[in-house]
């Protein structure tokens, strides 16, 4: 028993704190402060009722949805901005970054990273390299082709992660968010009215790739065609590099070819990706919590690929009309 001159709010907090941390019981507190017990008891009971009432948990679905939204934001926004000085990067700065990346890590590392999978130490290099390639694309067609290749890689990566078992939900959500971001960007390219399909050789992303659909989810077997083209410049790339001396009609035909090749590839992905994602959704190795992200991927694949195809067809019609009018 303790006679106390402490203010009631201090005694109240002392008791409450002890009760919340399980160090004392209500009865022990009241016994300790008998003079204040009559006043303390109803207040402590109210506080405990409030504490019990607020001890709720968000639904696992809500937490999973939030995690997914965050991953999507991360994929779209890149690294958080630290300072306005680094907020804007001109094209030449991207080129310098690429050269530095290759010099710092070595070309071998960048190439090795190309086949790395989520969770691997080289995986961030793979993603960084992809981002640089997208930034350096010289035309919308080229950019769309790179994004399509990247999206195909994401599907293969998730299949790989699931096949290995013991799926890390966060990691899967992160890859799924990146897939959606890339497919969204891809389907937003070449929208109606875009007349500036200035195809150049650039990094050769568009070469020799058109008829390869996304294969079954076997990442080892999926050598992303566009990026393979980067390593081994094909004949068409060389032709594109010398296009300045090509007659205008030939350049226009080449543009049409490249759009057609891209369209064939997008059609193939539009068929294969939903199938692969559905298969993953039915895979018992995929945790329930991760399925929300896969369902979003599936929805995106079903909606965005037809949109991308439509855009490419509009582009083809538009360039046909222009040429007809010449």
């Amino acid at each position: 028993m303790e006679k106390s001159n402490k203010k009631l709010d201090i005694i109240f907090d002392e008791c409450l704190d002890g009760m919340l941390t399980g160090q004392v019981t209500l009865e022990q507190c009241l016994k300790k402060y008998p003079d204040q017990a009559a006043e303390l008891e109803p207040l402590l009971r109210t506080a405990l009722s409030v504490n019990n009432a607020v001890a709720i948990q968000p639904s696992p679905e809500a937490k999973s949805r939030g995690r997914y939204q965050l991953q999507l934001k991360m994929a779209q926004a890149g690294k958080p901005r630290r300072s306005p000085i680094f907020g804007w990067q001109p094209r030449w700065a991207v080129a310098v970054m690429t050269v530095m990346l290759v010099f710092t890590l070595g070309g071998g590392t960048v190439l090795a990273a190309d086949s790395s999978m989520p969770g691997s130490p080289l995986y961030p290099v793979k993603i960084a390299t992809e981002n640089v390639r997208v930034k350096l694309a010289r035309s919308d067609v080229q950019k769309e082709a790179i994004l399509a290749t990247c999206a195909d890689r994401r599907v293969a990566e998730i299949a790989h992660v699931v096949a290995k078992g013991n799926v890390d939900t966060q990691r899967l959500e992160s890859v799924a968010a990146r897939y959606i971001s890339q497919v969204d960007r891809m389907s937003g390219m070449m929208t109606a009215g875009d007349q500036t399909v200035t195809v150049t050789g650039g990094m050769g992303m568009m070469t020799a790739t058109a008829t390869q659909p996304a294969a079954a989810p076997q990442p080892e077997a999926t050598t992303p065609p566009a990026l393979a083209a980067t390593r081994k410049p094909a004949d068409k790339t060389e032709k594109a590099q010398s296009q300045e001396s090509t007659p205008p009609q030939a350049t226009a035909n080449q543009q049409d070819d490249e759009i057609e090749q891209l369209k064939v590839r997008i059609i193939a992905y539009g068929i294969s990706h939903p199938g692969q994602i559905e298969k993953l959704l039915n895979d018992p190795k995929v945790p329930e919590q991760a399925k929300y992200a896969l369902r979003r991927m599936l929805q995106d694949a079903r909606e965005k690929y037809p949109q991308a195809i439509k855009n490419l067809e509009n582009q083809q019609k538009s360039s046909g009309k222009n040429r007809g009018g010449d």
């Binding site: 709010d9 109240f12 506080a47 019990n52 607020v54 809500a62 949805r65 995690r67 926004a77």
Partner: protein
């Protein structure tokens, strides 16, 4: 705490994995803090998600030397709710089920078994002053200690203890009044 300090440091440098871990460790507390403020679990889920998206967008501006990371998150949540409440101000006040249990002095045994829900607490908390409501939200829903609440609200610990005491007194009064009104 050292672990969290390290996570925050890495997150500030753009480490997404670190930020994801912070999300996992703070989501529930922020959610409860939002629910008690707005009294709607579904909207609170959406708002909590947005708090973390906004935190990610502005993590670069967070200074570790200033307020603790959790206090910074609660501040973002608070600002988001101010906007929300402003937009919802025309909405009629939620009335609770008349049959819900209320406080009673006459039967301590029954009171000991009292079960409130968070929506009831949220409605009752609307009768508190802003400072009292903030203390209740941070202390009970946010799970902060008196010292943490004091830092978050930039007040002394003594002031927070006094606010906590007066807030519980006021809450009790409001909950008791429910016996006469048939609602909280």
């Amino acid at each position: 705490m050292q672990d969290e300090h390290d996570l925050v440091h890495r997150a500030c440098r753009g480490d997404r994995e670190a930020f994801s871990q912070l999300y996992e460790s703070h989501f529930d507390r922020i959610y409860r803090y939002v629910v008690i403020k707005i009294g709607n679990r579904v909207e609170a889920e959406d708002m909590t998600q947005q708090v973390f998206v906004r935190a990610y967008e502005s993590i670069g501006s967070y200074k570790q030397q200033g307020v603790p990371f959790s206090a910074w998150l609660f501040r973002i949540a608070h600002n988001q709710m101010v906007d929300f409440i402003r937009k919802q101000s025309k909405r009629p006040t939620v009335q609770l089920d008349e049959s819900l249990p209320v406080m009673s002095d006459s039967n301590p045994q029954q009171e000991a078994e009292l079960r409130l829900n968070i929506e009831q607490v949220a409605v009752a908390a609307r009768q508190l002053t802003k400072a009292q409501r903030e203390v209740i939200s941070l202390r009970f829903a946010g799970g902060q200690s008196i010292a943490e609440v004091a830092r978050t609200m930039s007040k002394s610990e003594g002031a927070i203890k006094a606010l906590q005491h007066s807030a519980i007194q006021a809450l009790r009064k409001t909950l008791k009044a429910g016996t006469h009104d048939g609602k909280i």
